[in-house]
Amino acid sequence: MDAFLSALGLFLDPMLLVAVLAGTVGGVLVGALPGLSSTMATALLLPFTLGMEPGMAIALLSALYCSGTYGGSITAILVNAPGAPAAAATAFDGYPLAQKGRAGKALGIAAVASAIGGMFSVVVLIVAAPLLSRVAYDFGPPEYFALALFGLSMLASISSDAPVKNLLGGAFGVLLATVGMDMTTGVERFTFGMWELSEGVHFIPVMIGLFAGAEFLTQAQTLDRVTVHAALDAVRLPTREDFRKCMGTIARSCGIGSFVGVLPAEGGTVAAMIGYNEARRWARDKSEFGHGDIRGIAGPESANNAATGAAMVPTLALGIPGSATTAVILGALLAHGLRPGPHLFTETPTLLYVIFTAMLFANVVFLGFGLVGAKLFSRITLIPTTFLWPAVIILAAIGAYALEQSILDVWIMVVAGILGFVLKRYGFSAAPIIMGLILGEMVESTFKQSMIIFDHSWAGFLDRPIVLVFVALTVLSIASPFVSKAWHRRRERENPA
């Protein structure tokens, strides 16, 4: 209670309020822009928050995360171009509804469903994170090693089309994390004689390059694409009848989003797809789905925002990111000298309540902005690509440079951008590489400590029950995309359309 009151007291500081408000508005704007996501925005903003108080920095990034997830629905509905991957499912019914002249209703449903999902997830975060962190008191190096492997194995299920490629990307990220001086022995690895690399490759320039740089080159491919905007009438609050129709869907999607969000590496995109599918599956009358059913908007939107707070649970409690954006936030925590885990809850409870309050605040504020300012926010899509992307690349370069005032980081950003474009073309995602890069140091250090504890015997892992649970979950998560694919193929063979 004291920590909560202290956190509320901090919010009387106008600078903190301004930071959270700026993060919220910025998140909606960035989320609304196709090609820019809250992950990219947090990655771009992170270097500039290093000079802030840790609480203010994390609160700003968390608020941006919440509102950016909602912001993607604006362009998903108005121009059928989701501003964020998590809003892809919203376009299935949002755009058709907008084409029928009811864009205002679609945006209103999206705003309300998102806010409800987001606030529900913050409650989940407040309850679950401290509980999970207490479980982590029983974790030693072998348990953390197994947990990190489980987190990396979940990468397989980010995209069912390329599970092995995701795992390979994660392994590559872990390998990248070995660049630099080995902390135990002082031996330099993969530095090629460059002293600038002796401290390793910082994940921020790599992340900025893989997301912003790669997307910049992708935009260069699609300059001739013309976006058609649906007309926007005034944004309307859902009616009582709309609420009655959507309540079950929103409640179900809050549960789905929270469950998926807690799982490492999953996040809002997966939650939104499952939320949409379940909304459709449970509907008695499915005829309107795909043609403007408001449940097809409420389902994914409440699920993807419900995943935001839930994704912060493993991030804060265990140091395992629940999504790509929380991987960035985890990086911010580490950059500010904060180590996630039980000690974060016992030693800096006020910081955590600042984060919780900022996320709740962001959900309320974007609801208001969404209902009042959706028309204004949608104008962001009118910024010509020819001006927007040079601006993004300049910001990306300065963001990479500002980290340590080193031009090498800018070069790393450029190389990562070109590599990211090539990898994307051949079916590899950027998120697994970033996850691997962030978790790599933890994987290596806990592996080494475990080997010392077990006297270099792998059998030692099998004597630890928590490790066995994580190993079983790891095997399950690696196998599940293949099992699911095989099952679907068998169903198609048995029930040909």
Binding site: F48, G51, V164, K165, L167, L168, A171, F172, V174, L175, T178, D182, T184, T185, G186, V187, E188, R189, F190, G213, F216, L217, A220, Q221, L223, P384, T385, T386, F387, W389, P390, A391, I393, I394, L395, A397, I398, Y401, A402, Q405, I407, V410, W411, V414, G417, I418, F421, R425, Y426, G427, E444, F447, K448, M451, I452, H456
Partner: protein
């Protein structure tokens, strides 16, 4: 996007028709793994007491081995899965990548302000923007705003470069 090149029946559109595209990707990864593994053999050895019998090369070699196994799986899977045709990369993409490289080179040699101005003039023009008034205004206002924000407000230090005497 579909590949516009005509496809003869029974012949893959992918130029290396003997091998699926993912098989070539897997082979490239295997070559990378081989090179990376060879590099790890050149790492200095630490005294056993300091390294606790886990040499600096042990963990990277383990990860590289995992990567090689996964590449092998992709290689095998590539023969079973149908290959989607990839659209050609428009010339503007490598040119834009070259512009990124040129921007960082200018940042390093000329300083941040000239680099930003050149980027704000050159890239919109390259991408087809012909409203020159807007381009010039963008090339003046945006770098000024960014420099003012980061150097002025956020205290990020930029090397002045040879063109800016202050």
């Amino acid at each position: 996007m579909t590949d516009p090149r005509p496809v003869r029946e029974g012949v893959a559109a992918w130029p290396a028709a003997l091998l699926p595209r993912d098989a070539v990707v897997a082979l490239a990864v295997l070559v990378f793994c081989a090179v990376a593994y060879w590099l790890t053999t050149g790492f200095d050895e630490a005294p056993s007491a300091m390294a606790q019998n886990i040499q600096p090369s042990t963990f990277p070699q383990l990860v590289i081995t995992v990567m090689a196994v996964l590449a092998g799986v992709i290689f095998v899977q590539s023969f079973a899965a149908p290959q989607k045709t990839l659209a050609r990369v428009p010339p503007l993409v490598p040119v834009s990548a070259g512009v990124m490289v040129a921007f960082v080179t200018a940042f390093q040699t000329l300083g941040i302000i000239p680099a930003m101005v050149l980027m704000c003039l050159g890239l919109p023009a390259l991408w087809g923007e012909r409203r020159w008034g807007l381009v010039i205004a963008f090339a003046v206002l945006f770098p000024a705003a960014i420099y003012g924000l980061f150097a002025g407000l956020l205290d990020v230090y930029f090397e002045p470069g040879p063109l800016i005497p202050w």
